[in-house]
């Protein structure tokens, strides 16, 4: 009986570990975005108007001005979160709110669009890097 309980414990532990691992794995990539589709949607706005690429230049490696972030090589899940927050209005930026979710709903990004765009940008050669406090100042 006691061995059974011990075994059960291991089974439960293993199951919990597997669950934790799978949920982490899901959160890391989310549903995998399609890079080619993301590139297309990034560069082309079906209903006309400004595309992402109009301001986030050269696949996100440059930008039209200093207020516009560089995106090339940024983490996909962070980009997804940002786009979803812009879409829901949780994050406020007049231009971006309108861009991903126009009042008329014309250019509204779907979840798939967002996953694709995020995957595309994350796949670009990074212009951003993880902060390293030990590095001396550049420039």
């Amino acid at each position: 009986m006691s061995t059974n309980i011990r075994t059960m414990r291991y089974v439960v532990l293993a199951a919990a570990a597997a669950l934790a691992w799978s949920s982490t794995a899901f959160a890391v990539g989310g549903p995998r975005g399609d890079i080619a589709a993301g590139k297309a949607r990034f560069e082309y706005t079906p209903e006309g108007g400004q595309s992402c690429a109009s301001c986030h230049l050269e696949s996100g490696a440059k930008s039209i001005d200093g207020n516009t972030p560089l995106l090339a090589g940024q983490y996909a899940d962070y980009l997804e979160k940002s786009l979803k927050d812009y879409r829901s209005g949780a994050r406020v930026n007049v231009l971006m709110n309108a861009q991903v979710d126009a009042e008329e709903g014309t250019n509204k990004l779907t979840d798939a669009d967002i996953a694709n765009i995020a995957a595309y940008l994350a796949s670009q050669p990074p212009v951003l890097s993880v902060y390293d406090h030990s590095l001396p100042k550049r420039r």
Binding site: A27, P69, D132, H133, K137
Partner: protein
Amino acid sequence: MSQREQGAVSACRAVARGGYNRGLGFPPDWPNLLERLMRRLLPALAGAALALVYTPAYAAGNPENGRQLAFTCSGCHGIEEYRNAYPSYRVPKIAGQNEAYLANSLKAYRDGSRQHPTMVAQASSFSDQDIADLAAYFSTQGRQ
């Protein structure tokens, strides 16, 4: 120039010289003096004008101060693939990001218009100068 006009000019000069000698008015050769002064000052004036044109709208940041403030940031932004919890996503890479964007983000966290518990808490203690310093520092970090 007629004789009469010449007379008027020399009379004016005499009056000006007389005034100048009594401590009044411009020196009689003020055009020459002005020219010499301008030659001296022109580089400085041009520099000042250029500086005005190229000064960004926000306070200039000092990257050295930024580095002092940035130590705390490395706890999350300094770890590869570091994850935010609830919701779970990776903390963004910020080294090499645009300076104005970084400053805007910190200000938005500070005034609460951008929400993130940790970032709002961090930014709440920053002055405008702190934010400018951090933005100047991170924007120069790790750029290829």
